[in-house]
Symmetry: C2
Subunit: 152 residues, 2 copies
Amino acid sequence: MSHWILAVERVMAAPPEALYRAWSEPAWLQRWFAPAPWHVVRAELDVRPGGASLVVMGGPNGEEIPCHGVYLEVVPGRRLVMTDAYLRAWEPSPRPFMTLVVTFTPCPGGTHYLAQAHHWSAADMQEHEAMGFHPGWDICTDQLEALVSGGA
Amino acid sequence: MSHWILAVERVMAAPPEALYRAWSEPAWLQRWFAPAPWHVVRAELDVRPGGASLVVMGGPNGEEIPCHGVYLEVVPGRRLVMTDAYLRAWEPSPRPFMTLVVTFTPCPGGTHYLAQAHHWSAADMQEHEAMGFHPGWDICTDQLEALVSGGA
């Protein structure tokens, strides 16, 4: 098996359902998904297999980055899989870059949270890492944890 | 919308369900899927969203070409969507090349059959065309039509 995966893994003191909600409801996603000082300008999520998602991130200087994707697998409360390989079902995007597999598994203390970005090549994975995957996702995951733990 | 699509379209004197069966049951797929003198050596089809498929085509000189894919959308009797972008759910394949959307629509005289190969780039589409998409798929589609029309 070839694997070019970047991942974030953490146990959080919240039920899986709260994490699922934070990923699947626009009003919740907006509160944590972009790493501060960036924020979410727009979030449209059609959470079903084949449904499209559009999240626009806004920067401190008015920059906007639109992120398009399609859900591949939806298991309420437990698992979401989405990819940027399609703009909508099943129109190929200009550049397939990653498939995101997010799982929320009940465990003592709350939820074992795992978000894995699978890439189509080592080069894509390295590019994603160089773009700041780890610091960016760490900030977002802190924001997510604060939100679901009731601290935000 | 960007579209790099190669397609086969035909009205066939058979019900949509027969065409769906010819695409989704290994014993049927084996009878038409490879263009003669090629044949299907092996067909393993897990026909559900996220299910994997493996079809191995064998050539007249003992060549073997394995084709891996994953189903994205399954509507019994009406529609199948699969892609070679994954080897199995959701492991990226070495090279995402196409997404195949096959629809079987009832119409006067039988079924409007449409098989569309969506590519991620113009270059991929041109490569597929140069590989002999049209003559190859015409032979296969003749074989499929003969099978479902009871002539094979």
